[in-house]
Symmetry: C2
Subunit: 199 residues, 2 copies
DNA sequence: GTCTATAACGAGATAGAC
DNA sequence: GTCTATCTCGTTATAGAC
């Protein structure tokens, strides 16, 4: 019903699958059965559309993080569910919106660049807090400042996603994510089926 | 002198900084002071240019890996130098060519898609061998199959690069890489200045 | 091997009717 | 809000002279 939201839905998927320079207003218009001119009524420029995408994506992601937080499980489980958010995106054959935009970064308008960094900042500070709390509660053991672990995890998940998507193989992602969480949470023995894969 | 190579040089940098859909023949022509028509003489289509880029990049990367191998240092040092290859690229404000193309993946012609995966395969099998040899020689300790560690390291370095480039901060990459290598090589204590950043 | 010229098309964007 | 029509420019690519 809400045309603006439907435009954002289609545009979001196109950015996540093809990059910001890999689709056009014509693609969105064709899919929604409206004209390019109508798109320009809702989003005057492609830059404005891009900024709106980042804002909405960041807000939605923030809500997902809150929900993970309030589910009150321990830090290790919070990290698992954080990685699960990425896995969900990948299962839709998509890349993280801002991970994709990070690739397009130098070609983006200034407002979008700021938005991408804010998204990463949001992720890093949330993760850093989880790492910090987890250490204090004894649920996690890791080396160095919580922010370092947060950055490592964020970057690694983005990269695992990027590569896994090329192979069309989500399992490549989940396998890497599982191992990463084990290493970054101080676990000395892996849980689950990967145990049997150990030497 | 060799026009084809100079074209590849410029195109390579443009792909690594702006993505395959973020530049045009006009950009290359302007920078080299030749016409677009001349470009088409050397590379008939953009797809052909893209494939040539991947081939050359893969060959060059393969030579770099050989060189690391023959420098005969231990496995841990080989991994450090492998990560150093990425750091060198990032210092030039570039993304890994194939990491960038992985983002553009769905929009690429089939030949380029295959080339990207072959590049990743090359990296993974080289890394897997290093991990395997390192474990056998007692230089590395890690969990699970060598290929899993190889894939995790490859993806994580690509992602760390992707994010670090958005911030224009190579240190974000080197910090993540250092930590990754420590975790993946079984080191129980970190070496170097990051030691002092521990709690 | 490089040029001029141009084709053929798609891009983002606007004017103005309905 | 959505449309038709159009503008302007950039895109990949080709023909043919030098």
């Amino acid at each position: 019903m809400d045309t603006a939201q439907r435009i954002l839905d289609v545009a979001e998927r196109l950015v996540q699958t093809q990059g910001f320079n890999g689709f056009s207003y014509a693609d969105i218009a064709a899919e929604l059965g409206i004209t390019k001119a109508s798109l320009h009524y809702h989003f005057a420029t492609k830059a404005a559309l891009g900024s709106a995408l980042i804002t909405r994506y960041g807000a939605e992601f923030g809500r997902a993080l809150e929900e993970i937080d309030q589910s009150a499980v321990d830090a290790r489980e919070k990290l698992r569910r954080y990685a699960g958010l990425y896995a969900d995106v990948l299962r839709q054959h998509r890349m993280c919106l801002c991970g994709m935009l990070a690739a397009d970064y130098t070609t983006l308008p200034a407002a979008m660049r700021s938005g991408v960094k804010e998204f990463f900042d949001l992720n890093e500070s949330w993760l850093a807090r989880i790492f910090d709390e987890g250490r204090k509660q004894g649920a996690l053991r890791f080396r160095g400042p919580p922010l370092d672990s947060a950055r490592l995890l964020l970057g690694s998940l983005e990269g695992a996603m990027l590569v896994a998507r090329s192979y069309g193989d989500p399992e490549r992602f989940t396998s890497a994510a599982q191992r990463l969480l084990a290493e970054l949470s101080g676990r000395r023995k892996l849980a689950g089926r990967t145990d049997r894969a150990q030497r």
